[in-house]
Amino acid sequence: MKMLKWAGTAALALALGGTTAQAENIKIGVVLAFSGANADLGQQIDKAFDLYVKLHAKDIAPHTVTLVKRDEGPPTGANAKTVTTELITNDKVQILTGFNFSPSAIAVAPVVTQAKIPMVIANAGTAWITNLSPYITRLSFSMWHHGYPMGPFAFDKIGCKTVAVAYTDFPPGKDSTDAFKAGFEKAGGKVTDSIPLGSPVQVPDFTPFFQRIKDSKPDCMYVFIPSGAHATGVAKAYGELGMRKAGIKLIGPLDLIPDNKLQDMGDAVIGTIVMGNYAVDLDNAENKAFTEAWHKEYGKDSYPDFMSAAGWDTMHAIFDTIKKLNGNVADGAKFVEAMKGWKTKSPRGDVMIDPATRDIVQDEHAMEVIRKPDGKLGIKVLGTTKAVKDECKVLKIGRCGS
């Protein structure tokens, strides 16, 4: 009798272990900026996450996901570290994603290494972040994706021989301007001035900084700001000071013209040229479907932007990996391994996770802001480079080489 009971238990265990249809509920921790001056940046990614989960829940059936959302707080890292630790220890999440800001991702990296939890970055763009932990993959971009190719493009195509650079004073700001300088000086250009624009926590009055640039009369000004409210501030100050009229072109990474604020920026931004991976106006079938789904869910006046597109792809990659592993995501290292080489046709174009660096490989577009025939502001693609890698890691510059 006792033997029979043992045999029965063993058989049951075998049956359970062997089944492929056992439904897992996977907890995904989402860490995004939901408060403070940059709260809308969190919202842009959060909306993309929710939309993807809503439309694609069936793709991973019978498994399901639960998103556990926490506020990343200000772009200083401390709060992100606290909530991430809570997500891992209290909420027992198996995957972490989100992360608007580089300081947050940098602060969280040792935590995920210790906990062996995969961390899929949907925005934070300082190049060397992916080197901080083998559990990090990034679906958004490195600052070098936009900054480095902008260098030669600015010199050869836009006609910038001299450039003043200005940046919000935190890791991605320095990273973005370093990337631009490296590309621009290699092409033969000269950077005449380098101006830090204060902390990312509050939007400064940009006028004195820009007045200084205006007085030094460079051909172009390259500006990095953490998108969001800062972008609107840059457009205002640039317009108010009449800098375009003074012959100084505004260039930068795409953070300058996030789609969800573009319509509010006015004529001042027309002619701004950015390098980036996404715009609502990009012409491809995936983007058309994405923007239509977005407008249907959030209304016609709500626009996805580059952060939303990266958020969409982030959830896509997570879902595909869950499917690939058949819901068995307990082993963090295996999850990261399964993500390597993931590729798709995204609203951004062809994207792939570089197996060597766990960073994204994607198309980069030079885009100019125009007034479209329907009266709205939009962009015109001036040129596209296919399959761009993070040059910082390719060239092994500074901390990217470690």
Binding site: A37, G42, G198, V203, F209, D215, T232, G233, E240
Partner: protein, 290 residues
């Protein structure tokens, strides 16, 4: 004109415009603190409320920018009386900590309310054509909006100065700031005076909030983000002093602008350096009572 003179003029101009914004927004806070010793950290929330009213009036109802500013100032001033009578009044005799807790709580509630109503995406306002573009003085073009800020600031300062120095009510307010118990014992209704000045201060803050949209953009966190600046202006100027607030706004506005222009690498250093120096020499601020 030599290059350094042009730079000096433009720093003075931008600094002056910035100072006017600081003054308009902070003066109410200074008077409230001077008159009642009340620490109102929700002052920035009144400014933010003013900003959002201007956004709604201009964008949704199509009212002009200037009338919207006036409506926002009056509306917020009126509503602030409700807060003063309903909430603040109960804590006049309470400790600073209790006042701080109440008002910072109000500020956070205001942020949540604004996020709920308007969302976290920063708002901008359509400016009328007469405020756009720049005024060219030959050697240098000045943005029209900033010139407008300066003119408006000077006009308001004149009115406030006249009100404070030349009218009966102004004399009563000054008396109450100097010595509240004495003022009460000679029959001045300090409670009523306070309600009036509180409403005026909040209304001016709302005006400042409306004016700030073009400078910084407007998002719900406005209520606390720039509060530090206003508190610095109040502390450096001296509690309850119109003259002090003006001088502090000018000094901080011009020095911050100059610092950003000439030594951007130093970041916000100059504002804090000047604050520390002034408070070391005059702990009560420029015109505060020691």
């Amino acid at each position: 004109m030599p290059q350094f003179a042009i730079i000096a003029v433009s720093i003075l101009f931008d600094g002056l415009a910035y100072a006017m914004f600081l003054f308009i927004t902070s003066v109410g806070l200074s008077v409230t603190m001077g008159l009642m010793g009340f620490v109102n950290l929700a002052h920035g929330a009144f400014a933010m409320a003013g900003g959002y009213i201007v956004v709604s009036l201009t964008r949704d109802l199509g009212i002009g920018f200037a009338p919207s500013l006036a409506i926002a100032a009056v509306a917020v001033g009126a509503v602030s009386v409700v807060f003063e009578r309903g909430l603040y009044r109960r804590l006049y005799k309470a400790t600073d900590l209790e006042q701080v807790l109440l008002t910072i709580g109000l500020a956070f509630m205001a942020i949540a309310t604004a996020t709920y109503l308007y969302g976290p995406i920063p708002k901008s306002v359509p400016l009328p054509p007469w405020l756009q573009g720049d005024i060219n003085l030959g050697f240098r073009a000045f943005p029209t909006y900033r010139a407008f800020l300066i003119v408006l600031g000077i006009a308001l300062i004149s009115v406030l100065w006249y009100g404070f120095e030349k009218t009966n009510i102004g004399a009563k307010i000054r008396a109450a700031v100097d010595n509240r118990r004495m003022a009460e014992s000679v029959g001045i209704n300090v409670d009523l005076l306070f309600t009036l000045t509180f409403a005026l201060g909040s209304g001016l803050a709302a005006l400042g909030g409306g004016l700030a949209i073009q400078l910084f953009g407007l998002s719900p966190s406005f209520a606390v983000l720039y509060l530090v600046l206003f508190l610095i202006v109040v502390a450096v100027g001296g509690l309850g002093s119109l003259k002090g607030t003006l001088l502090a706004a000018l000094v901080i506005g011009v020095i911050d602008t100059g610092g950003k222009y000439l030594y951007a690498e130093a970041g916000g250093f100059f504002i804090y350096a000047i604050t520390v120096i002034v408070l070391l020499i005059k702990p009560a601020g420029f015109y505060g009572r020691e």
